[in-house]
Amino acid sequence: MKIIIQSLILFNLLQVAYGESLEIKFFQDTVRPILKEKCYNCHSHESGKSKGGLVLDSISSILKGGTSGPAVVPFKPKKSLLIQSIKRIDEDTAMPPKTSLTLKEIEVFQKWIQEGATGPKSELLNENSLELKAKELWSFKPIRKFDQSNKINITEAIDRFIDVKLKDQGLKPVKRASPDKLIRRVYLDLTGILPSPETVESFVINPSKNKYEEIVENLLNSPQFGERWGRHWLDTARFAESNGGDNRHLFQQAWKYRNWVFDAYNTDMPYNNFLTQQIAGDLLPFENKKQKARQITATGFLTVGSKPLAAKRKEEQEKSLEMLLDPIDAVSIGTMGLTVGCAKCHDHKFDPISIDDYYAMAGIFKSTRLWFGPPWGNLKSFLQVGGFEAFNHLYDPNLYTLDQSRLTQAKNIQKQYWRLLKVQQKDTRSLRRLKKKISKPKKKLSSKEIQQIKLEIPKAEKLAQVSQQKLDIFLKKHQQFSVEQIMAATEGDPQNVSLRYGGEFKKNGPIVPRGYLSHLTFNGSNISIDKDESGRLALAKWITHVNNPLTPRVAVNRIWSQLFGQGIVETVDNFGFAGTPPSHPELLDFLAYQFIHKLNWSSKKLIQKIVLSNAYTRTAVHSSNESQISKDPLNVYLWRMVPRRLEVEIIRDNILATAGFLDLERPKRSIVENFKQNMFGTINDDLLKKSSELFYHNIRSVYLPLLRGKHYNMYDLFDYPEDEAVNSLRSSSTFATQGIFLLNNKLLSNSAELFAKRLNNKPSLKSDEDKIKYAYLVAYSRPPKSIELREDLQFLENMKNSNAWALFCQSLIISSEFLYRF
């Protein structure tokens, strides 16, 4: 509905804007509707068709015409091909092909041409001019300016913005969350791990603001912070360790990018730098090799997406163009919340993004080489397939250094290998040829000739055997030689691509110079792209420019959404017309402005400022308040906190944590590396088996192998995001098979048994009551209420069997208080 209203407004504006000249009005009201109805099916950008090279949706293209020449000669109807066609003078060129225009319609065209064939100049003749849209779209407008002096306390300001709106709405905020709930909340939000009973108890004794600030500070500096917030970014980055779709290509080095993301959050890399490295890290200056290697690793962002690799039948050129959709979407949605990919076939249906913009960005990535890992699993196929330039990025993961000597060594090995392979191929070929001469002779052979060939065969066999042996020995000798690679982007041949009407490879349009979104302009947006560069670095500069209105808004809104469960802009990945406008526009701009100017793009600091606010610390547990609820059922104005289901990784981690079984160490590498590539068909069974084993081990969930389209059952059940596209905010659904999993899966029953053992083995816990109390502290960060204690004792009494305690522990970790963050 909103969309419809918006486009109506636009339409009205357009009428006014173009309503100045009578001729244009005549064109808009009378001529264009006929063109649209009768001609655009075959001759417009919208349809993606340009039969006879002719498009009729802008004045310039009408005047330019198609392969037969200009369609219209202004003031000269008789000389205009368009009139000749619609009058059906020649049967071959009669248009439209099936139904004739009425005499009245033909007269309209004649009159229009007679009077000079005038119409709006610059734009396609759609209702929704892109320029107007760009002026209308809130997110394209510059960010408001705010006081950035030392007087400003960001946390207090946040509350002021929220309180003003609450007052406007007549809403009263609820009280602060109880200390136990608050500490649990902030632990889960900042690290994903539950606080220990001891931590909770000490905070409950002294829940001062200072103590809370100290806890926040410590959590922000724990290594788990990077894993927690890095994982949010991995959702945005559509991260996975295999290609997915029809092609089961493994991304064996994706884990390096994953670790880079975690490290970037832990070191609080400024967000502008964080984005720049991911788009153009290979092009940045560096002080040492270690830094260089890290920066290249960051470009894994461009390559970890799902690509149409299986479209085998398509030509390479066509395929290579289709491969660009993924990085374009990742970059444009990921950083700016704009769905540029929607403009692949036609101008964006809602937003000020033209098809030219898409192909301008496509040029940037067409000029880039995307290394997503070789399609080989062993040295032999590696050497055979090539992809040799990936060697340029050999590096030692422990040292993060590029290893030049290994590169040279690898090049030598490959040279030798090719030499041996060529000999072996030649020998095998000649043997085959000889055998074929007898088995499938082209001409009749005399017995003498046959005799001759039969004599030659053993010799050839021997030769083939020897060269094969040499090859085998060589491979065996070098088997241990492994090459360290990364998924990364590097510069390719700088080039522009031509626009494709309707997104179809064969429907070539004009060549579009590399660039960004032409309708998103700001002070300083004129960043040129050198002809010798892909333009990635320029793109990164443009995206992270202090005056780019989208990037910081999208960034702070994502942070906000993770802390409150909803963004100030609800559609965190869509800041276009199809998204929702901000509920607190000034607050959003304030945060964006201070994020850049005062916090120097520090995500950590911004998170800190927000979690210290009153808004964040409000309770989720409160008495019923009918009038407030009916006024703001979805808590848009943040008068309370709404409980939300934890992400699947966090649920699994904490199930293991209650069992005392969770390992917080980062594993050295990913097991995905150790498995053979299966280009087609199913993913290697051993890999699947191994990863599902790992699922029941104590590894933190963020380090489990992630195969695209092959998620763990629990991940599928608990809303792990679709990893084929940017998906920055998890949804949370509730359905029966989750219950079945929680009641029966061995992750739960085994963990519950360990949890029960933990209780039984703790000497300080003497009575059943002690144990129950401690279990509540572990699982819920609070002691049980007396009614709960009674119920639980009753339960243990009723069960009276050996696994009563395990069942009790299971009941704790499958109840909503455990699964939800309050």
Partner: protein
């Protein structure tokens, strides 16, 4: 029961004049049907012949291409190959689509298209769309069940709800009809009920602390549903207790037909119990170079069970309100290699709202390309939704900044096949 975004919520509450009580609200969401006009059918059974059956070796005689003998059957005179002795008796009740075509000659892409309309990005399967569109008919069961699911081609994407709420995901059940995590060895049902009672007390208390939270309320409901489903589904999938006559009818006593027969019988039981979309997979139709051996084998495994399913549905009065759909992701080319052919192939439908003993469309004389009565997969989807009372252009879901449809921006209703 699931997350509805702000916009949905507002629509819902405005449509019901203000706030509903929590239980009413979740109830309304659960059973809300999104149909647009009176339906002809209530449910679908999709017999997915994975691999791509050759049209001219099964149901269409092509002088230049058919190599397996057969003859005309019934009043409609439909040609059927000799390896479908049971099914051939049903031709006067079937509606053949002989001008099918789709876009991809690659198994997985074509299977994904057959299920989801298009391959990218991940889209919901038609079963998910249908259970989303029709709502639940039986609160003890999910709306979409996928029998004999394998990760052979397309994998879990075939039954994925993608961006639709995950309660509409097809529940995959393998060809042994074995359920994962339904019950466990450590806890018997009584103990589990006690465990669940304890959990539900906690859940209710948590829900009571937070006014108007349909998520927390949903947890309570979903646990009860889980417990009920744990009771209902295994029984429905158990074919052991059926009468001898039914077992014989489905061919359970015969090693050739028993595997697929069990799936067909389970499909009928699930359908009858209110599952909106049941898919039954048979994955052995990829007959490269071996059509002479492959056709008798694949037909032999499926012929009797499918005929039994039709008969069973008819005898129970269910056929008139069910759509049975048979076919694969594409057809095959004539010749020794019998390659993949998405340009012209055959599927058939039977049941509610469809013409009987009717053939629509045809391919050229060699069976290579559909030339008349062409039906694209999108058109098939549009027509199935229509029979279920849904306008395919109006069944939409908002995701990632746009409204999505099963038929994308395509799909035409195939009027000539409607009764």
């Amino acid at each position: 029961m699931n997350t509805y975004n702000r916009r949905d919520f507002l629509t819902l509450s405005s449509a019901t004049l203000g706030m509903l009580s929590v239980s009413n609200m979740t109830g309304a969401m659960k059973h809300q049907a999104r149909s647009h006009f009176a339906p002809k059918a209530k449910r679908v059974i999709f017999l997915n012949m994975q691999g791509g059956p050759a049209a001219f070796e099964t149901f269409v005689h092509k002088k230049l291409s058919t190599t397996i003998s057969g003859k005309q059957h019934g009043e409609s005179g439909t040609w059927v190959c000799k390896h479908f002795p049971y099914l051939s008796k049903w031709v006067d009740k079937l509606c053949f689509l002989n001008g099918m075509h789709s876009d991809s000659p690659v198994h997985s892409n074509a299977q994904i298209q057959l299920h989801c309309g298009l391959a990218t990005p991940s889209r919901p399967s038609m079963g998910s769309w249908i259970s989303y569109g029709l709502g639940s008919e039986n609160i003890d069961l999910p709306g979409y069940i996928h029998l004999g699911a394998s990760n052979f081609v397309g994998g879990s994407r075939l039954s994925s709800s993608a961006f639709l709420p995950s309660e509409f995901t097809g529940i995959p059940i393998n060809s042994q009809l074995k359920l994962e995590d339904f019950g466990n060895a450590k806890t018997n049902f009584q103990s589990q009920r006690k465990l669940l009672d304890l959990v539900q007390k906690r859940n209710k208390r948590a829900n009571g602390q937070v006014p108007q939270n349909n998520h927390l309320h949903g947890v309570i409901e979903s646990y009860e549903m889980a417990y009920r489903m744990q009771g209902s589904l295994p029984n429905l999938l158990n074919t052991e207790k059926e009468s001898k006559q039914i077992k014989d009818q489905y061919g359970l006593n015969n090693s050739q037909t028993s595997k697929f027969g069990k799936l067909c019988l389970a499909a009928r039981k699930l359908s009858e119990s209110g599952v909106r979309f049941v898919e039954v997979n048979h994955r052995n139709w990829d007959h490269h170079n071996s059509i002479q051996k492959g056709i008798p084998k694949s037909c032999g495994e499926t012929d009797k069970p499918i005929a039994a399913l039709l008969k069973d549905l008819e005898q129970r009065g269910l056929l008139d309100e069910t759509i049975v759909l048979w076919g694969g992701e594409f057809g095959r080319l004539p010749g020794d290699k019998s390659g993949h052919n998405p340009k012209g192939y055959t599927m058939w439908m039977a049941g509610a709202g469809l013409k009987k003993g009717f053939s629509y469309g045809e391919t050229d004389e060699r069976g290579i390309e559909a030339v008349d009565g062409k039906v694209h997969v999108h058109d098939l989807h549009a027509t199935i939704l229509h029979l279920l009372g849904i306008d395919h252009e109006r069944l939409t879901y908002s995701f990632a900044g746009r409204d999505w449809r099963l038929t994308d921006v395509k799909g035409n209703l195939i009027k000539p096949i409607l009764s």
